[in-house]
């Protein structure tokens, strides 16, 4: 069996295992084992992949497999990975792994919770390994729908409204997406829905003009593209910790990944032609998200707007359409995924103790829970792009790459987007200053305890990964660069 199928099979097996488990201990055991196996598989995949590349295998996709599924529409279960997918799988595995530990004590209905969680992971992994547009889309939706219940049942605050809004907006996006995908398929006249096959076929530019925006916006909604980002603050604020982690950490990456894997790869001419519109929107996202984050008082809202800003940067960089910026985009996906997950994990832990997320009601927590405090500061520093942490390498790739664009318009937009790094510092420091530093606001908080082992564990894992990416980004950018080559090549041909 193909190595990649494991990533779909394993969550499904976990589902079955969870279904059969009776006690909380069994549930935890199944979840933790499954997540660890996934992580192990992801690491193995990564190593094998790099081994193949080292050995000189230059095929665009490795570990490919294909099985016909619906011959009428030439749909197949086609899987394969390139460097970017490998990294995304690794990211997902890490976040699923940490997410499981973060929700160690989830209440109520732990079994159901983990089952939905597994279904979500199935979708995520399936999406990243798919090469067939149909399966990709299918997995995409599989990943979306569990959000509704995860937020609705286990969330907090205005969870029902938020869950509904999130689901409907994302499904609205996927409605556009479905039209776009079908349109592209028929317009290309391709022999199958396999992306590589479709890339061979020439899609008339006149049609690309219609489908590119559909697909881009469809994925963009998940990538929090302005002005379709409003699901994100509400959704993140209401979701339970691990779900916020998974959602901001992985699910939002589906958007960016889809944008270049489908929209830009298949329709490079339209991307070149219409890119500027979206560039403008993403530019707005970047700055707008950062500014909006400045005045929020709910920790999760701050982080959600920050996600809007950071994910905006992902799309922004993708639309710059050169290797450096796109490398930056993928790195930003990784980096944002990790640090947002870290943020949400920490916010969840803090919330679990203080029972408030209002920054005005907290203060001086550093003294009370130094571990969480330090971790929060590290996450904040990663978020504001401190060298040595992952945010910096990503942002620098993005900005340097974007600034290499030959068009003045693009460079000016880059400068605009650059301002976000200052604003990011403003809101990050504001939060850190308010909740961690200063005198203790609420004497009740003095009784609170610091993190326990299953809380520390995911936090440490995330920090280590963030730091290691920040310290040695070379291998990642190599992986990404190789994977981007065909895409960038198509885009540059299209530019002519």
């Amino acid at each position: 069996m193909n190595l990649l199928s494991i990533f779909v099979l394993l969550p499904v097996l976990m589902l079955a295992g969870l279904f059969l488990s009776r006690t909380r201990a069994q549930v935890r055991a199944v979840a933790a084992t499954g997540a660890s196996l996934l992580l192990a598989a992801a690491v193995i995949l990564c190593v094998l992949f790099m081994g193949e590349r080292q050995a000189g295998n230059t095929a665009p996709m490795l570990f490919t497999d294909h099985a016909v599924w619906f011959p009428t529409w030439n749909i197949g279960y086609s899987i394969g990975v390139d460097g970017i997918s490998v990294l995304m799988i690794l990211l997902s595995a890490i976040i699923v792994f940490t997410g499981i530990f973060t929700s160690w004590n989830i209440e109520p209905l732990p079994k159901e919770y983990f089952m939905w969680f597994c279904l979500l992971s199935t979708g995520v992994f399936g999406f990243f390994i798919s090469l067939d547009l149909f399966t990709m889309f299918m997995f995409y939706e599989v990943a979306l729908i569990p959000m509704y219940l995860l937020i609705g049942v286990w969330g907090s605050g205005e969870k029902e409204h938020a869950a509904m809004k999130l689901t409907l907006m994302l499904m609205g996006g996927s409605a556009l997406l479905m039209l776009g995908i079908l349109g592209v398929y028929f317009a290309s006249g391709a022999q199958s829905m396999h992306i590589m096959d479709m890339a061979q076929a020439d899609i008339p530019v006149a049609l690309q003009r219609y489908f590119f925006p559909l697909v881009f916006v469809g994925f963009g909604i998940l990538g929090a593209l302005f002005p379709f980002h409003t699901w994100s603050p509400d959704g993140h604020a209401s979701a339970p910790t691990a779900v916020s982690m998974l959602h901001a950490g992985v699910l939002m990456k589906l958007g960016g990944y889809g944008c270049f894997r489908v929209a830009m790869f298949l329709m490079p001419e339209a991307a070149q032609e219409l890119g500027w519109i979206f560039l403008l929107l993403t530019g707005i996202s970047v700055v707008y998200g950062a500014f909006s984050a400045c005045v929020q008082t709910d920790l999760k809202y701050i982080n959600a707007y920050s996600s809007v800003s950071h994910c905006g940067l992902v799309l922004f960089a993708l639309l710059m359409m050169n290797t450096t910026a796109m490398t930056g985009a993928v790195m930003q996906m990784l980096s944002h995924g990790l640090m947002t997950a870290l943020f949400f994990a920490l916010i969840g832990m803090i919330y679990g103790r203080t029972h408030t997320r209002d920054i005005r009601q907290m203060g001086g927590l550093m003294k009370i829970m130094p571990f969480l405090g330090v971790a929060y500061v590290i996450a904040g520093l990663a978020s504001l792009g401190l060298p040595g942490l992952s945010g910096f390498v990503a942002e620098m790739n993005v900005f340097v790459g974007a600034f290499q664009h030959s068009d003045t318009f693009h460079r000016v937009l880059t400068l605009v987007a650059l301002t976000s790094i200052v604003i990011t510092a403003v809101y990050i420091l504001r939060v850190v200053g308010k909740i961690l530093y200063g005198p203790v606001q609420n004497p009740e908080h003095l009784k609170l305890s610091d993190a326990v082992w299953f809380e520390r564990f995911p936090v440490i894992v995330l920090i280590v990964v963030i730091a290691s990416i920040g310290i040695c980004p070379g291998w990642i950018s190599d992986l990404i660069g190789q994977a981007l080559f065909p895409i960038v090549e198509r885009l540059s041909i299209a530019a002519l």
């Binding site: 997995f139 939706e141 599989v142 689901t167 409907l168 499904m171 609205g172 409605a175 079908l182 028929f186």
Partner: protein
């Protein structure tokens, strides 16, 4: 008289035989024997399904073209029988507790409407089609009014029968106009002489369509639906929304594509409008519903809109998509209706608020309901996703971009109201939810079948592929082949340029050239 003709009708004959058996059983069985009515009916129906499935023949005509059959028709009939069987399975508690005396009638009335639907699918002549549609409608009215001591049921029955009679009157008027224009009522003959430029024929077609639109309950022919579903016993509602709709949809495709193929340019705009109206308006209505059966009624109206997408494509893929869609819809909707029926029995009313907190007490039921709703909403990995995708794909292939876009945006609205039920079951807190209960064995078998179907009918591609193969071959059968191609004639062509309806076909060719 050639009796071999009758052998071609073995699907229908087996059903008639089944009806007669049940009738005899009802007449002669003892009171204790009658208690076994439900199992007997189900087993016999199952046997009939197996018989039909194993002895299905090739395409054939009988009675001079009045009756046609094909693997496609047989397949649709099997699907309808399966649907009926599931409805029977769901009906056990209801029929046995409330209708000690009349339970036999329930089965053979239902089966006789099923027979009518068989004839709808297989007819090659408007008369047979008309009788089929009436056979499918009139006893159904009795079924709708089956809980006759309940005013709601009686009211629903009256609304149904009167509106159905009205619609069939209009439809009949349309057939008469078509007859006047074409001089024949045989499908194949009529297809050859229809002239899209002839206003009277077009009018006839539109009047005729009323009957089918009524059965499909497309907006604006839909208003009866909600009232009838709400008033009718839930199981009858399920039957109405699934089996009856399936027959109507398939015959809609067969008649409009195969008979009115030449008129495509006339009916496609109509269908376009109906799809948009049905999906949108039904969705808007469904949002506000408080009663689960009304809710499902509107949902089924909007689903019918999606089904018609398959008709408007008028391609083999469209047909495949349509049948597959109906099949998947059948499973999901039956599950939803079945659960609605069970919950209604348990709680005594059908308000959606009764579902609050259902998951706590009846997890399995809630999960199945959720899966069914997700399937209806088109969420993967449930079968509904696949069926929606394929029907959209078929429509896109024919270039209906805007239409599909509207339909897709409406799926978002539909997701909203499906999620409302899910929310009620899983999220909304409720201090005293419906207590845990156990359904009867038959219902549980039915629910299991639905569950398996909802989960696997999409992922297991063999079902779709098989349907595709059969409908491809039927669609491309020589009878139909010449009529499906769209004929590009300007609608504005004045009627008097067409001197003779009989030479319409040849005239058409001239215009084409």
């Amino acid at each position: 008289m050639d009796f071999s003709n009758f052998l071609i009708l073995r699907d229908e004959l087996s059903l008639v035989f089944l009806i007669l058996c049940l009738l005899m059983f009802d007449l002669f069985a003892s009171a204790s024997g009658r208690r076994l009515f439900q199992p007997v009916a189900c087993v016999l129906l199952l046997l009939q399904i197996l018989f039909t499935a194993f002895f299905s023949g090739d395409s054939a005509e009988a009675f001079g073209g009045m009756y046609t059959t094909s693997p496609l028709a047989t397949m649709v009939k099997i699907f309808m029988s399966i649907g009926t069987l599931l409805v029977f399975l769901f009906s056990k508690t209801w029929i046995e507790n409330d209708h000690e005396i009349a339970k036999g009638e329930y089965y053979y009335l239902t089966l006789s409407t099923l027979l009518g639907m068989y004839f709808m699918i297989s007819s090659g002549h408007f008369l047979l089609f008309f009788i089929g549609i009436e056979l499918a409608a009139i006893p159904l009215a009795c079924l709708v009014a089956f809980d006759k001591h309940k005013p709601a049921s009686a009211e629903a029955g009256a609304k149904f029968i009167l509106n159905a009679a009205f619609a069939s009157g209009i439809s009949l008027f349309g057939i008469s106009l078509l007859y006047g224009g074409c001089g024949t009522l045989y499908f194949t003959d009529m297809a050859a002489v229809l002239n899209p430029a002839n206003l009277l024929q077009t009018a006839g077609m539109i009047f005729f369509a009323t009957g089918l639109f009524f059965k499909m309950s497309l907006v604006p022919y839909h208003s009866w639906t909600a009232d009838v579903y709400q008033g009718a016993p839930a199981n009858v509602g399920a039957y109405l929304s699934v089996v009856s709709k399936m027959a109507a949809a398939v015959s809609l495709f067969l008649i409009f594509v195969k008979v009115f193929g030449a008129m495509a340019q006339n009916w496609k705009p109509i269908f376009y409008a109906l799809i948009v109206l049905s999906i949108t308006i039904a969705n808007l209505f469904a949002i506000k519903q408080k009663d689960i059966k009304r809710f499902l009624a509107y949902s089924s109206i909007s689903q019918a809109g999606y089904v018609v997408l398959g008709v408007i494509t008028a391609t083999a893929q469209g047909l495949t998509g349509l049948i597959y869609y109906l099949f998947v819809y059948m499973l999901a909707n039956l599950a939803a209706f079945g659960i609605a029926a069970i919950v209604e029995r348990q709680s005594g009313d059908a308000r959606i608020s009764g579902y609050n907190g259902l998951y706590k007490t009846n997890p399995k039921l809630s999960v199945l309901m959720m899966f069914a709703l997700f399937s209806l909403a088109g969420i993967p990995p449930f079968a509904g996703f696949f069926s929606k995708f394929f029907i959209f794909a078929a429509a896109i292939q024919e270039g209906w971009y805007i239409l599909v876009l509207i339909a897709l945006l409406n799926t978002v609205i539909s997701l909203y109201y499906y999620l409302l039920i899910v929310r009620a079951m899983f999220i909304t807190p409720n201090d005293n939810p419906l207590p845990a209960f156990k359904s009867d064995t038959a219902s549980r078998i039915a629910m299991t079948v639905c569950f398996i179907g909802i989960v696997l009918a999409g992922l297991a591609s063999c079902i779709y592929n098989r349907i595709g193969m059969i409908s491809d071959s039927s669609f491309n059968a020589p009878v139909a082949a010449i009529h499906v191609e769209e004929i590009q004639v300007n609608t504005a062509l004045p009627a008097d340029t067409v001197s003779d309806a009989f030479s319409g076909a040849s005239q058409l060719h001239e215009v084409q050239n």
